[in-house]
Amino acid sequence: MYRSLFARDVFAELDRLQRDVQEAFDLSPSIRGIGRGGFPALNVGSTPQAVEIYAFAPGLDPVKTQVSLDRGLLTIAGERATDLPSGRDDESAVHINERFGGRFRRVVSLPDDVDPDGVTADYRDGVLHVHVKRRESAQPRRITVQ
């Protein structure tokens, strides 16, 4: 279904196998499954003020990439054009073909305290960084003792 960013990586394959085994034994997995291994690869981090999502998606056209947040679900979708020669061109040969090409969509479930109006996204060196602020009211506060 998905093509991993890291094709032919033995450790990633072992990791996938382990996940499949885990999923088979887990009687109540998440309704969206474990999306690991698709394109783009995702890293997620958090600070008390915000949630940071890094999508490793090289070679995208930022204009054609959609980032949306709806009811706590962050969706990153778009298309990456393939650079391979068309089949009609018999002058060239494809020796290795591992890079992802085509449409993609990944969905991340965010914590409840995020602020839907505080989302920014930037694209740099092939990494899409989405910064989602947490709501002011949810942030830790120091309480002065009277």
Partner: protein
């Protein structure tokens, strides 16, 4: 497909690279690549997301091409990683080149995390049309 004109990516070169990694103790992710050959040379594209130009190292030595890059992403201070699919900050991949490739004329471009390498074939290795004389 002509075996002598491919950028060979045989197991041998990968195990060499793995052995070297172990020695140096620095594991790296293997970037996915596309390798396309045409009449005049080879085009290699590699996905290296998060690697800026100044952190990319390309080396051609003794018939091998090494692509190595460090992932450099500005993260806010005190950020706690909660989930990671890219769990190493480095990419590395080694290819064995074949001798008709002209390593002196390699050109490289890095854009939006995609490295494009063009390795032309040496002039005397380029195909030539042979005229048939009719006697």
């Amino acid at each position: 497909m002509n075996d002598t004109t491919t950028v060979r990516n045989e197991r041998a070169s990968r195990t060499d690279a793995a052995a070297r990694n172990e020695q140096r103790g620095d594991a790296a992710l293997m970037p996915p690549v596309d390798v396309i050959e045409d009449r005049t040379g080879i085009t290699l594209r590699a996905d290296l997301p998060g690697v800026p130009k100044e952190k990319l190292r390309l080396q051609v030595e003794a018939g091998t091409l090494t692509i190595e890059g460090d992932v450099s992403i500005a993260t806010p201070e005190g950020m706690e990683a909660t989930y990671a699919e890219v769990d190493l900050p480095r990419f590395r991949r080694v290819f064995t080149l074949s001798k008709e490739l002209d390593i002196g004329k390699v050109s490289a471009e890095l854009k939006h995390g995609v490295l494009t390498l063009r390795i032309p074939k040496a002039a005397d290795a380029q195909p030539r049309r042979i005229d048939i004389k009719v006697g």
